[in-house]
Symmetry: C2
Subunit: 349 residues, 2 copies
């Protein structure tokens, strides 16, 4: 099933068959019709390896999924893939997926893809403030689009979601409910998103002239949420509300709180509706971000410049029931003091 077969059947050269299928204007329309009909008749599909060899393109986009043990409760990557996959298929580009643990293993996976010339571009997510992946890809002039930004000084393409505003809004909501001591269970600060979410929480408290509540940072698993909330509740001055950087942390925290805390999460996981009480959370437009990322990357591969390819989408507060009002005795507390706040890092690896 090759061009040669069609050319023999129709008495045309391989060149003409190729040009007819490829849309070249210097093929007579009658000839083109014959070629198209025959190609369809035999269900011709070009050999992509031959094409890509000739064109000097890999014909694929790479994605390395994180595969540390705590990563499997999060549908984020599945939702990315579900949006990205069909869009690339439609453009006849392969989505090449592998998985690696962050660190040396992950960098090896990127090197294999990039230096092995297996991909024309890379999509990556869950960026870190200092992200070795981004630096590597920039060093190698490999087109890529990130979900999330980073401290990298060189310009690169990204789609981010405004976690700072989302967390400011969520904190303001808790303040409006009367809470005056609001804790934060955050992901580690190496992640850009964690940094932004914390800035939003801190900014809202600062604007309200309130001291920050306790902060605990941990990999975003249910277990770490449970442990962190338990710790906070046992402290001398427990918060009455906690903001969680992810819904998974929130599910664990909700379990530990046993009705004693108002809790807001982030991600709007399907399970969030079925916690007790149903979780107030923040929904991010993953599908929209993913679609935009694909567009950007295809443009970059075609030679576009990254200038202007930095977009920030807005998240949305989803109000359910876990953001209860503050206990009555705390509503009387006067804002206006700035004592130092208690801060713990990384409970679990």
């Amino acid at each position: 099933m090759s061009l040669a077969r069609i050319s023999k059947t129709l008495g045309l050269s391989i060149t003409t068959v190729s040009r007819a299928l490829g849309g070249y204007s210097d093929v007579a329309s009658a000839t083109r019709a014959r070629v198209l009909a025959e190609a369809e008749r035999i269900n011709y599909h070009p050999n992509e390896n031959a094409r890509r060899l000739r064109r000097g393109r890999a014909g694929a986009i790479g994605m390395v999924l994180p595969s540390a043990p705590g990563d499997f409760g999060d549908p984020f990557f599945l939702r990315l893939l579900a949006t990205i996959g069909p869009r690339l298929s439609a453009a006849n580009i392969d989505l090449l997926v592998t998985a690696a643990r962050p660190g040396a293993e992950e960098m090896r996976a990127y090197r294999q893809m990039v230096e092995g010339r297996k991909v024309d571009g890379i999509l990556l997510a869950r960026t870190r403030r200092k992200d070795d992946r981004i630096a590597y890809l920039l060093d190698h002039a490999m087109p890529f689009v990130a979900h999330g930004c980073s401290n990298e000084k060189r310009p690169f393409a990204y789609v981010d979601v405004d976690g700072e505003t989302a967390f400011r809004t969520a904190t303001e909501r808790l303040l409006a409910l009367g809470h005056r001591r609001i804790g934060l269970i955050n992901a580690p600060q190496i992640y850009t998103f964690a940094h932004h979410r914390e800035a939003g929480w801190h900014g809202a408290l600062w604007a309200a002239q309130l001291p920050p509540g306790p902060v605990i940072r941990a990999e975003p698993t249910e277990e770490n949420g449970f442990v962190a909330a338990s710790d906070m509740l046992r402290s001398a001055e427990p918060p009455t509300a906690i903001l969680c950087a992810t819904d998974r942390l929130a599910v664990g925290a909700l379990h530990a709180s046993a009705g004693r805390l108002a809790i807001i999460g982030y991600d709007n996981l399907p399970v969030a509706t079925y916690t007790d009480p149903p979780l107030t959370t923040i929904a991010q437009p993953i599908e929209q971000a993913a679609a935009r990322m694909v567009e950007m990357l295809l443009a970059l591969i075609d030679g576009a410049d990254v200038a202007g390819m930095q977009e920030v989408l807005q998240a949305e507060l989803i109000q359910r029931a876990s953001d209860r009002p503050a206990p009555v005795e705390q509503v009387a507390t006067q804002p206006g003091e700035h004592p130092s706040h208690v801060e713990k890092d990384t409970l679990r690896p």
Copy 2:
């Protein structure tokens, strides 16, 4: 960065360079060493498209992820990818991933992969009793391995988990706790796994000479679990315990039961530890199954026969707290009657 470059540098033919790198015995070991050293010095990577063109292989394995809206809460596919990805990378085989909704869209994705000769094999999961995908792949002599089996009469390679035994065991556990009316919230019967799990539940009740409790079948989302359990609790003879085909169904059911039901799920999702009460569930060895699937598929692509490539792994009951004893008044019920049981199909699409 090609063989030609190395051949020029070393004053050898391209043939000899290729053979040296390819391990041919008719190259002098001193020559081979020179070639390997130079290849490493310039970080040579072969052009896979050229290789694959010459070898007549696609060099990739395909996977089509389900992307119906309810599919994103389930880490099953992420866990599959996390095991499959690195193993294929190690074998220098690309994992080509796309996503499609079950039905015409999905079949189109398979056709694109198979008829476009983009893959040398396929891995698929969540098999149906009558599975168009399996029939199609068999029709096209495309090597594939399924996670789960099907009613297809022709032999094919699969790795399954014994859901029937798992559900029999779980039902027996509920019986041992004194439950005599045990409902089932199952996935639709088109799925092989749903059929097997129901058979296990039914078999254990039959062996105990008890009538089956109510059965509701629905796509396995939290919402459907909630609705089904609510329906069962409102019935004239509510069950005292419910077996759920998946943890996601169980989370929803747990929420609806408000402490009135014993519930056992399946999947051991991370979130299951943090439900209230913590969910008793069944853990399946996804990683083991995925690794075995990769081995089988690579063997099939190398020409092995599917005979003997049908394996069934065992799941494990994880006891937590959601399988409470039956209310005292029901423990007195005598086993031995077989009234007809109430059965509803598909609450939500």
